[in-house]
Symmetry: C2
DNA sequence: TATTCTAGTTGATTTGAATCAAAACATAAC
DNA sequence: GTTATGTTTTGATTCAAATCAACTAGAATA
């Protein structure tokens, strides 16, 4: 699910163009409306992307971690459609898109890999649409935690213990819920001894039951 | 918003590979789980794509019309992640993906255009996420109708009068609502004289007010 | 023409999440 | 250490949409 590059692939791209950029916690990598020129491969850190509604409220469209590629949405109009904000100090590698296209002409495997990455983002989005369209609060949160857990595992961290970088409100925005509902869902999962919540720290006690929480919405009801 | 190719572009691709395929109403263009080899450019007709939940229920991920490109989600794993079903007799042009990649190496503009199309799909999906995550029933339906209206307009049809190809249930699945809620939202918009509903036929009487319905969720409340 | 069958509408009721509100923590600033 | 600020939890209440149910209209079939 995560739009990921492995270290090696990041390295290859890094050779292509290796201009790095650091973004402090709370800083913007790019803003909606700004001109698109480069994709950004995350080297370290954690970011969110979000689109703004007419009325000022925001919808988080994704949380992004090391190895993932940002800016794909901006290729179509050459204008960024979302804000990208660092949720912790982060480092990204800037990849001028024109150059990427140019080079990928001579390296078919790079081009193909890039296509796979874009496609994976589409698949991920469809998964979120399914989540938003048909799951209830607790199922959404379970799904979210399992997704994070897997992404930490892939990156060599514990799948059972991790720290959330985002607030309840940001989780809520991503999951289509209000922050109070997110908090209650956390509490419920903790009461059932499936997870242990200590502020931003999450411990998964029972992965199997957490998976069940996600899986059988309509089976039970 | 629609992932579209203009007639000319379809023609260019048509020269690349011009194997056509007809799908009868109700027939499958491809199924989730089947091997991916080609993208499909819609020459005529109307299709839906949907993913299946564990429990058998489906989530419609999109409705697709002439000029749009199907199969982008399957590039990542080379397995189709969704079903594509014709909602009316349709004709598609098969585009073997390997060939597309090969040719796009020599035609930079084609490659660039393809990237734009994939990116546009991502932007569209983010729009749907916003809709599912933060709009209420009536706003979702207004948004849906305006989107359809615009796509008909682009294709040279009336933006004020058109026939829906999908059932209330399919609309509901796409919008994250139950069919009864969709029906009620239609009735409400009709009562307010914003649209006229006659079974599958839709007439938009007041485009401005329909746009307002979509726009100011939280402004009013 | 009668007969299913499917799709759609509408009403009554329930329910899950939003909203409103207050208190308990944490974090950053002083 | 204390104060201020932002975040999280929890409770009470409200509300929008789901569910349950009945009925209607069309399309398809016999």
């Amino acid at each position: 699910m995560p739009v990921g590059l492995n270290e090696n692939e990041i390295h290859v791209l890094g050779e292509v163009v290796s201009h790095k950029r650091k973004i402090q916690r709370g800083g913007y990598l790019h803003r909606a409306g700004s001109k698109f020129q480069s994709l950004y491969a995350i080297r370290s850190g954690f970011l969110k992307t979000c689109i703004l509604e007419q009325d000022g409220r925001q919808q988080v469209t994704g949380f992004h971690m090391t190895g993932e590629l940002l800016g794909l949405d901006a290729i179509s109009t050459e204008i960024h459609t979302c804000d990208a904000v660092a949720l912790e100090d982060s480092e990204v590698c800037e990849i001028p898109f024109a150059k990427l296209e140019e080079i990928s002409r001579t390296i078919p495997s790079l081009m193909h890999h890039f296509h796979k990455i874009m496609s994976r983002e589409i698949v991920r989005d469809h998964g979120v649409m399914l989540l938003l369209g048909s799951m209830k609060a607790e199922e959404r949160l379970a799904s979210f935690l399992l997704n994070l857990s897997r992404r930490f595992l892939i990156r060599g961290y514990s799948e059972y213990n991790f720290n959330l970088r985002m607030t309840r409100e940001e989780i809520g925005s991503y999951l289509g819920l209000k922050l109070e509902t997110v908090s209650r869902a956390f509490s419920k999962l903790q009461d059932e001894n499936i997870i242990r919540v200590d502020n931003k720290h999450i411990q998964i006690n029972d992965m199997t039951r957490l998976r069940m929480k996600m899986g059988n919405s309509s089976c039970i009801t």
